[in-house]
Symmetry: C2
Subunit: 696 residues, 2 copies
């Protein structure tokens, strides 16, 4: 197959991939890229009309690579490139690699900053390249016009052209296209580049997901079609998040979210399962609601991006198991009871219209695999995004919601579990709790001497003790406490000694500060006087303790499975992780001890995983393989889960040390209080008394 | 892979395939069959519950094969077979090959006469074995019940079982099954054989058409499902014909037909194309009508066979190009004008529901490829059935309808054409013509001396000159002349000298018989006096001449392409061919000279081809390959078509000799008349005058 490499031929180095090789003088740069496996897009098949294959020569002496690269080492612009420049415009140093040929040593830059990106630079926090290898490829071809002497049908001649020009064999076609094919082939577009005489120029979208599947023609357009889009969608219990992305450049065109309308059937997952069990049409109603919401959200991102929804040719979805089932029209009842059997755990492939998703008529839909009955395709998406199985170090990946998904591992072994943390972290079940929204307190500090609090409110820049806070807050008001602040206030109460390591509010402090006051049989802490009056009660502290203990116990069990006593890095996925301060999470003992610099929020990692699977079908195979390797631990079935959970109720933990945290945060001396059963203050226990109960 | 064959091991010969091999003592007979590629069905996977794998030992000394075969050379019935016998009944000499093992030399008969047939014996005229290798396979498996420690989904464990027990890899699933899978797996059937503890017994239907396609799970049933059906359907312009067949045994369960309701939009194909061109909703209305008719016909064959239509898992359709397009929802306008471009000529694959065919929700639909714009999937079906490309001899295959499809060839080369014969052969455009139905004259003889006719009528056993004919005919009446009789009466008129070789009614005979009488400027022949009065006019003879000349000219052109001056055998496909007498067809010069013993009617060969493609996916590949090899000749574009056509107007032909026909039929001396332009009798021309005009 490969001609022997001649070392005297020019040496070509492609950046940023770093792939290099010798090629004879006269080789088109695009051919050289293809031979080296460098992804350079091309829709027009080397006709110099789509402009997708742009590259740039880097001039200079690259001593490290022993290359002197110069624009003199590439052929001058030919008539095709000149024509493209006239019609579409080609920046001065840019070349069309299908036309430019190698004349000497070259360092070639495959640019990532324009519409012809071969890789996408993601926004904001997660700066990651997703190498493109989408399941959809646009292929311009010129089809022979019909000839009575060659009775092959129009579709069949299209297939011949696609095989001849692009190498596609055994092509199938989306059935809805069959009745349209003759009209599409016969449509002439006045603004299109000239098509060879006796030929019809059309662009076919070819879908090929797995290599073992036959490729499908999923769309056909008259003339040169130079753009196609995909969506990556994460269906959460409360929010649906979506990216709209160019499949040709990888560029994110729009990102948006919408509430999951299923909330009207039940706030949390289990209440939705109950709704299905209680109502004969419940499943259908919820399926309809979520599909409608997804369709509306597609409309929204398309409006934002100025894209026709029918130009969306591929879609990837992630979701937790119950959302996954309801979205796909599957009754989730089995997921509500042991053994929590998924109807389907593997990746699934559909025509989008089969589940009523309104994109192109030949649009495809792919769902990532689920890991287990409580660890869904969303967790698989996060795993794909953060890749614990790609790490040498031990990575803890947690996605905290009503249910927390926990994945722990490295390239040797990955284990996963889920923990029912409940909605406390989201502000529910907390007396002054609310969802994160303008007016919600998001940050809290307590002065260790005066025990006076200060806080910050979403939508207001100033701290509550700063000049002009009240005026600034006046507009949005102070309405409640959101999840991140609940974690901070409980952690600060612990750091300032207001609560003991067992989480008991120390009533003796009532003497020191009026903010600690008796409330029935227990004590509370007054965070803010006024309207509304915001109080952290003993019950609130208990709710947070239960939630964090559930999460930590799950993590701890996985650490035991891995035989490690600490983790090297922690990734918080999901909105929750974005807003909490890792330090306070660790003070609370929500996560195990770790170098704080190695604790990072990664945003909607599930959505990022969906995006990766959308832009590169290799990532689909990657996660399909990995989910089989991930060991699922059913925490509730582990015999000592109960003890680990009880130990994890303490702050940060009754038995586990936090040496790395202690280096950066001054932890209070241990103070053990018992929650009073009388009206009096809680009884103080000595450390020795406590120590005696620790397991060895 | 294969263990070395030990010549001292028992020798096993399978009949009727004749495949043989040595196998160690103790090998199950089913395994031996599989290893030799002998098709023995099995649904239960060797559990001795489905009874599909029955075989019989042939006892005796088979000297030719050097085998002494005896029931002592097979293991005695074990407990599994005894149980099957108790529950379902197993005939005395029958054995279940999954349980019976080889103990010595054996001749094994794979029976074809029961529900466990490996081959189907077709009915009536066409006695042919269709070796079975259907696209659908039923596979019983026992699926692990869910286990919290192994989070694989229900579907995924079903796939694991199908891979483990049946070797299916990379299975996809029909999307509509995904929401049903949990309920199906959890359904327990009381009358089913016991399923292993902790397992769910289900039967999956796996569809695999081409080897390059990934197999699909298309249906799943609780317990052991032991039957699946398919339909083979030929959509003709006037009639839709259908077979309902067991995919497991190949047995034809029911065959039926129904009129094509599109007739209300236009009698012939071109008038239907016109209807589409003139009416905005015309295509849709005709598509809907034909699909409804197919669905109704499915209901009819299912009623006849006592089969639930949802047990139909596969379907194969053939049709002429315009019916093909209308059935598939494709606008046929392009087929009504040069260059007669088919939207799709290749074989197509659908889910049946995609084109509104109401069978099982996962039922598949396959259409045979078309050969060209006027030679459709029906002709491809006939080609598959009769297989000119499988012959050493030169075979002419004709399907005569409003349009005649002509295929001529042998294993070296096959050519095809279509000829617009018009509806004359079907009784249209003939003064007394009608479709074949009770009361229609179907046979005609004319006494050469008296010129008196006798005839037979459909539905009446007696000839018209026999005693009691009038009484017998009284019930059905004599209503008109159908196609076969039109051919016979014109041929008889020629044989008795009533018409000349140029087809002119000889007015001079009016003097001999009152049956010849003047009618305007030409003469007619009175076939029957009474009500209705049936007359063969000069115009009728001309219509038949035009039709037969069109057909013959097409045949002649193909013979020229093949470089042959005669054909070795002729196959008449279609209803027309079933009723006409080959001798008269040849006298008329409708077909070329050939040994009459080699002229055969093969019935609905298109439908037989569809049946073959239904029962054996290998036949799909066969015809897909062959259509590419068949050369399509566009007769109208051949420069001397006109001359050939004019020569073919004569009876039997102006230039071509019919030596083989002349051996069996006394052809009249040549008599050349000119159709009179005056009121007088036509002028008689000498043979010499005619001979002078013959090409050399």
């Amino acid at each position: 197959m490969n001609a022997p490499v001649n070392q005297t031929d020019p040496l070509i180095l492609f950046m940023p991939s770093g792939k290099r090789g010798h090629f004879p003088v006269g080789t088109p740069v695009l051919d050289a890229a293809r031979q080296l496996g460098v992804y350079v897009e091309s829709v027009c098949g080397g006709r110099a009309t789509c402009g997708r294959c742009q590259i740039e020569v880097q001039e200079g002496n690259f001593a490290k690579h022993k290359i002197v690269s110069s624009n003199d080492h590439i052929s001058p612009r030919g008539p095709k490139e000149e024509r493209y420049d006239r019609v579409r415009g080609l920046p001065e140093h840019r070349r069309l690699s299908c036309s430019a040929t190698i004349q000497g040593d070259l360092v070639i830059d495959v640019p990532q900053d324009t519409v012809v990106n071969a890789q996408v630079v993601r926004k904001a926090a997660v700066d990651r390249h997703i190498e493109r290898n989408p399941a959809i490829q646009l292929c311009y071809v010129e089809v022979d016009e019909p000839d009575m002497h060659k009775p092959l049908g129009d579709l069949d001649r299209l297939k011949v052209a696609l095989e001849k020009e692009w190498g596609w064999k055994n092509l199938l076609i989306a059935p809805h296209l069959i009745p349209q094919i003759q009209k599409i082939l016969r449509t002439k577009l006045p603004d299109q580049p000239e098509v060879t005489e006796g030929k019809w120029g059309v662009t076919a979208a070819v879908h090929r997901d797995t290599d073992s599947s036959r490729p499908f023609i999923t769309a056909v357009y008259p003339g040169l079609k130079n753009e196609a889009y995909g969506i990556a969608c994460d269906i959460g219990s409360t929010t649906i998040a979506m990216h709209l992305v160019s499949l040709l450049s990888g560029r994110i065109v729009a990102s948006s979210g919408a509430p999951n309308p299923q909330i009207r059937f039940g706030e949390d997952l289990m209440s939705r399962v109950s709704y299905v069990m209680m109502n004969p049409d419940g499943r259908e109603a919820m399926t309809k609601a979520v599909r409608e919401a997804v369709n509306n959200l597609i409309g929204k991102v398309c409006d934002q991006g100025g894209v026709d929804r029918h130009d969306i040719l591929d879609s990837v979805f992630v979701a937790n198991p119950i959302m996954h089932h309801l979205f796909l029209g599957i009754d989730p009842t089995e997921l509500g009871q042991a053994p929590f059997a998924l109807a389907a755990s593997g990746a699934l492939q559909y025509w989008a219209h089969e589940i009523d998703i309104d994109i192109n008529g030949g649009g495809r839909l792919y769902t990532l695999p689920c890991i287990a009955g409580h660890v869904g395709a969303d967790a698989a998406g996060a795993a794909l995004s953060e890749g614990p199985y790609r790490q040498d170090k031990m990575m803890l990946l947690v996605d905290v919601g009503t249910n927390a998904e926990i994945i722990l591992g490295n390239r040797t072994r990955v284990v996963a579990a889920s923990s029912p943390t409940g909605p406390a972290f989201e502000g529910a079940e907390i007396s002054g709790g609310q969802r994160a929204a303008p007016g919600a307190i998001e940050r809290v500090r307590i002065d260790p001497e005066t025990l006076e609090p200060k806080f910050r409110v979403i939508g207001v820049d100033k701290w509550s003790d700063e000049e002009g806070f009240e005026e600034a807050a006046g507009e949005v008001g102070v309405t409640g406490i959101c999840g991140s602040a609940i974690i901070e206030v409980v952690a600060e109460m612990y750091l300032t000694g207001i609560i003991s390591e067992d989480g008991v509010v120390d009533g003796t402090l009532a003497a020191r500060s009026p903010r600690i006051f008796q409330h029935g049989r227990t004590f509370s802490y007054l965070l803010r006087d006024g309207e509304p009056r915001l109080v952290i009660t003993q019950r609130d502290v208990r709710a947070i303790q239960l939630a964090k203990a559930a999460l930590y116990a799950g993590v701890k069990l996985l650490m035991e499975k891995q035989g490690v006593d600490h983790v090297d890095m922690i990734r918080f996925a999901g909105a929750f992780g974005t807003f909490i301060d890792p330090k306070y999470a660790m003070v609370l003992g929500l996560i195990p001890d770790c170098d704080l610099a190695e604790v990072k929020a990664v945003g909607n990692a599930s959505g990022t995983g969906a995006l990766m699977a959308l832009l590169n079908r290799g990532h689909r195979r990657e996660i399909e393989d990995e989910v089989h390797r991930i060991e699922k631990i059913e925490t509730a079935l582990e015999p000592h889960f109960q003890q680990i959970f009880i130990d994890a109720m303490a702050l940060p933990n009754k038995v586990d040390p936090f040496p790395r945290l202690a280096e950066q945060v001054k932890l209070p001396p241990r103070k053990v209080l018992e929650e009073s059963a009388s009206d009096g203050p809680p009884r103080r226990r000595s450390r020795d008394e406590r120590a005696a109960r620790r397991p060895r």
